[in-house]
């Protein structure tokens, strides 16, 4: 790698919410990811560093952190892309309580998935024949557009509305709700539409589009939330949901 910096200057958040950044020098390697950098610190410089990862290939959604001020999935973020000057500041995701160092407590994030009725409600049993779903219907296309969410929490950490309104369900939970709203096999829409129309639901979104900009899977939660706003507004006007 011609002209490459030999050593990275890395600041890592240490401690709980009252912690601070601590500096480390990490050797620069070819094709190095931000997760590689954190792992190097934990394995070679300070074994007490806490962080979370599992698959290392962008599937599990465990390793999201704040990298140079921006939430990212660290396993698929190359150092080359975010630290051209050789400096990295890595902190825990925002809008979530810090457990220790780079690990956040995601319980509230997943509680909101439950609150948004993000669980598939089957309309048939295992004894019924397998439903035939045409892949090219508008509803299925909308459901497919949001189905690749890996629950990494990047959109939630980057959302201004979540920061200002602790009741707001957040982009990920609402995107999941949008998938299920469009899934013709699902039977949970009456309670789901009520849940996402209440205070803190889809109408709290300010459409800042940070979620769309930051989503590592290039999903568009803003569009999903806009779809929910249209769908719930029509349902409310038809008297199908109360607020």
């Amino acid at each position: 790698m011609p002209g490459q910096i030999a050593e990275l200057s890395v600041s890592l958040w240490r401690g709980g919410k009252d912690g601070n950044y601590r500096s480390y020098a990490v050797p620069r390697r070819e094709s190095q990811t931000v997760l590689d950098v954190v792992t190097y610190v934990q394995r070679h410089l300070d074994a007490t560093l806490s962080y979370r990862f599992a698959c290392r290939v962008g599937v599990c959604g465990s390793c999201a952190m704040t990298v140079n001020g921006r939430p990212r999935w660290t396993c698929r973020t190359h150092v080359e892309k975010v630290a051209g000057d050789g400096r990295l500041e890595i902190g825990p995701l925002e809008n979530l309580p810090i457990i220790k160092d780079l690990a956040t407590d995601m319980a509230e994030f997943f509680r909101k998935w439950q609150k948004a009725k993000g669980v598939f409600a089957p309309s048939q049993t295992r004894h019924d024949p397998i439903a035939k779903i045409r892949p090219d219907t508008p509803a299925r296309t909308a459901a497919d557009a949001a189905i690749e969410c890996i629950n990494c929490g990047v959109c939630y950490a980057g959302c201004d509305t979540v920061r200002w309104n602790s009741d707001y369900l957040g982009p990920a939970a609402l995107t999941r709700a949008w998938t299920l709203v469009n899934d013709e096999r699902d039977a949970g829409n009456p309670s789901r539409m009520t849940a996402i129309s209440a205070s803190g639901g889809c109408h709290a979104c300010h459409s800042h589009q940070s979620c769309q900009e930051l989503c590592p899977q290039t999903l568009n939660p803003t569009a999903a939330i806009a779809g929910l706003k249209r769908r719930t507004t029509a349902a409310y006007l038809r008297g199908e949901i109360k607020s």
Partner: protein, 109 residues
Amino acid sequence: MNVRLYIWQRATAALMLPLVLGHLAVIFYATRQNLTAADILGRTHDSMLWAAYYGLFVAAASIHASIGVRNVLAEWSPLTDRLAGFAAIALGLLLAALGFHAVVALVLT
């Protein structure tokens, strides 16, 4: 914000769009024609049409602004949702009172 407040805020915004354009047209007309306050009041006096136009404007603006301010208070101030709601209702009533007072003055003066 829930779906009910969302619909009220969007509906009043949609209603205000033509009303604002009409209001701007009236301002341009009045200034280009060099109309004095007395000229304007002479034209609006006893006019139910102007009373209805600006009465509707005041009602839409009061509802729209109070829902928006409620949102700002709920998100940016330490007030609870309930207190933000009360403050917003008080603001809406104040705006409506001031606005309708002006409308009454416009058509009865």
